[in-house]
Symmetry: C2
Subunit: 546 residues, 2 copies
Amino acid sequence: MPSIHKTQQWQNLELHWQTLAATNLRELFTGDSHRFVRMQLSAAGIFLDYSKNLLNEDTLPLLLDLAQVADVQGWIKRMYAGEAINITENRAVLHVALRNRSPRQFLVNGNDVMPQVRSVLERMEKFTKQVRSGAWYGYSGKAITDVVNIGIGGSNLGPLMVTRALGHYHDGPQVHFVSNVDGTHLVETLQGLNPATTLFIIASKTFTTQETLTNAITARNWLLAACGDPAAIAQHFVAISTATAEVKRFGINPANMFEFWDWVGGRYSLWSAIGLPIAVAIGMPRFYELLDGAYAMDNHFETAALAENLPVVMALISIWYVNFAKFATQAVLPYDQYLRYLPAYLQQLDMESNGKRVTKNGDAVGYLTGPVVWGSAGTDGQHAFYQLIHQGTQTIPCDFIIPIHSHNPASDHHLKLLANCLAQTEALMLGKTLEESKAELLAQGRSANEVEMLAPHRTFPGNRPTNTLLVEKFTPFTLGALLALYEHKVFVQGVIWNVNSFDQWGVELGKQLAGVILPELKTGTPQLHHDASTLGLIERIIKHRA
Amino acid sequence: MPSIHKTQQWQNLELHWQTLAATNLRELFTGDSHRFVRMQLSAAGIFLDYSKNLLNEDTLPLLLDLAQVADVQGWIKRMYAGEAINITENRAVLHVALRNRSPRQFLVNGNDVMPQVRSVLERMEKFTKQVRSGAWYGYSGKAITDVVNIGIGGSNLGPLMVTRALGHYHDGPQVHFVSNVDGTHLVETLQGLNPATTLFIIASKTFTTQETLTNAITARNWLLAACGDPAAIAQHFVAISTATAEVKRFGINPANMFEFWDWVGGRYSLWSAIGLPIAVAIGMPRFYELLDGAYAMDNHFETAALAENLPVVMALISIWYVNFAKFATQAVLPYDQYLRYLPAYLQQLDMESNGKRVTKNGDAVGYLTGPVVWGSAGTDGQHAFYQLIHQGTQTIPCDFIIPIHSHNPASDHHLKLLANCLAQTEALMLGKTLEESKAELLAQGRSANEVEMLAPHRTFPGNRPTNTLLVEKFTPFTLGALLALYEHKVFVQGVIWNVNSFDQWGVELGKQLAGVILPELKTGTPQLHHDASTLGLIERIIKHRA
């Protein structure tokens, strides 16, 4: 197959962009009264309105042609079949197996992984029941009041985001998350915690991740400083890992090691044992509902025609903006305070998966890949960076996400939240013309001079594209569906870009070089091979720490 | 004056970019052994290494020519002179007066504002002493244990960020921040708080901001549900506002209203009474140190030659990347867990100030303005989005910010943090060539086939530009200096782009349209004038809420 950007389908889209660039959303809506009805999809409790995008009736068909030529359907099949589609690590990619709630088998090298998956879920259930009921106790015989998850990257952001997103359902012990190697993170977290009632979950596949082990050892010292007895470690530490020997050496009882597998990528792992802190917080029945929601979306993704496939359509719209409109970033704007960590989570999911510059074959891509994904919870963003989205010189496609019902329906807060969310998508699309702006100022009684001066500043170009995602309420089920939706969206984009969305070699070089610099800082002896800047900084730090 | 992009200076830079695009950082370092020494600056306790940027010895002089033709020095003078440089609102811009720690006068319309500034600082001092000492008490006679700041945008992000950034110095009552109109934000915050010992700070200049007032009223109901006596409101609510009548009507004693002025923009206001929650947390002496640090940077900014002026040089490097290299985003990466809100704060500061599309004269700008500013605390980002920064198809200039000393020097955590920070800047600059990657894989004993297949994926293009900012330790002083540095940087960029960095008309349209939609949701009666998407969403929400 030729590189995707050499295909006729790609070139059709490049040409087609010229048409769209010459029109605008106001016109598109005026010209088509059925637009809203035609450009919407629902699956697994999620409703998507994608009509406020820079698409006409020809765009999606052309994008679907591209999906066809990139063999999106074939790659979905390959993923489900357990093929080693993570080619640089020679691994299958089967996070869908983690939430498979049917008798179906998932095969890796001919072996069904489902018995292992179910066995770990059962062990998680037993463990969380003990912790949540008070049957698990610390060295002084007291129940656990606080759980501290120590992990980084996928072993942190996923469980952190979901635990907070389901804060309304949180009826277990307090759950804290420590990730940064900065001593401040752990020290500030442990302040006010009682070693006798604190349980640590150490999440590291290899049990050698520098940040995680550094924090775990300091946490162990904190426990031992309080109780003195190394036997207590087994009561206060459990592991999510595959490295039995390392885990045992740390002092953890291997019976309290929860396994996951090399076919689970870090950023796709919250559905596995990595989700243990979630299950401690909300209980296993609700963790299963989270899996149920993801499973519902998985089924939709696997079976729906591409044109009605929520993750596929969202992926194609993203591709449209990255490669043809050349928009560099995309924003995620959840109108739900519980979902405040969602933008950071999706930032990792998307940018670590598709921030790649070579194809699966190792050739340089000849086109842009993953955009910068960013955002924050609304309405806060409205009073911060929305200025640039409305009136800046870049176009930033936005996903607005909002539940119809709030878990905390105090007074009219939620109606205001809904009104703001809808108004933003309306404002971004419509804008306000110079003439409208002038008329408004005149109506306010401003002088002709003032009107002339102010109107350009109060004009909005509009034509800013948005998706709106509605759910009834953010339950474990709908959250699971939403996350699976974005996982599959990112996968489809990676398929079209022909990159491996499941490795992350880009994190290795920094680790390697940090391993060189650390002993230099420790001994106070810089090596001269560094560039002048790095050397100069090392010397300055050594001098100032002396 | 012609538009800035029509000047010779701008065109020189466009031409000059071709030279830089044809070289790379490795070469630039090899070719110039004095690069690190020449490309560094210090002021007010902040050390900047800017040598790892895509600059040669001609670049900064050419950028300084641009600063000259844009009259940066003249605009600095105009700001300090209290001229109404916020032209669309006809206001002076004098956040520098808020931290003026000298006998100097700052004039607005011929009147020195310093007596007012000092008077409010004195009132803040008296108030915070009372709250912190327990002399201020609630309706049942108990001291205040928790302070809840209710504000949004500049009335939230600044105080929130600084309060957390100075967490090490936090010895006053607990301080919470509620901003989002989402009822969840307030409800979850109040859970576990005691009305008898909770004090609310309501921060809203006009006392009409929808989010803030909605939250304030729900908070007042919460208090009244507990104590029943409206007279208690005055003991549990204070205001940061200028709207005496509204404040009084709410039930707040006007003696407990802290004023600020129209020459203080929301995103530049943490130095004013808006900083009250900071002062409650750390005490006024340390709040003064924060002002001292900003004042030291202000003096540097006002007096240093442009070529040695930290905010000016950082601004010019940003301009270089936005307008000549066409990099769409810039990342802020604080290696300090206390500074975890800094990226969100700078995102607002930068994007709300310079996310503009018309010049001061109201003409469309013919060039790009404010970039998307984003980031997170390191080392977490390393395990999330750094993949794209290292190996993606976009170049993202990054500011690395790190203290030489930690407030929590547990074990070797901080040396590891430092090693990681330096290693990232080294890795981003150097990259790893295909040949280096192959040699490494061969040395690991990989087969020739594996080497061929894997090496391209493990290659790093390098040549990714970074700034490194070092401080001794993040004290109130150095934090104040850092924030003033970025404020002035943003200002200089705005001067060169010839935009008004001090208004935010872009937030108005959404507010206006939300005001239309809210009654439709409340009455269940949508108006038909909306576009089909907005109307369809409103109808769907009404139906599902019925």
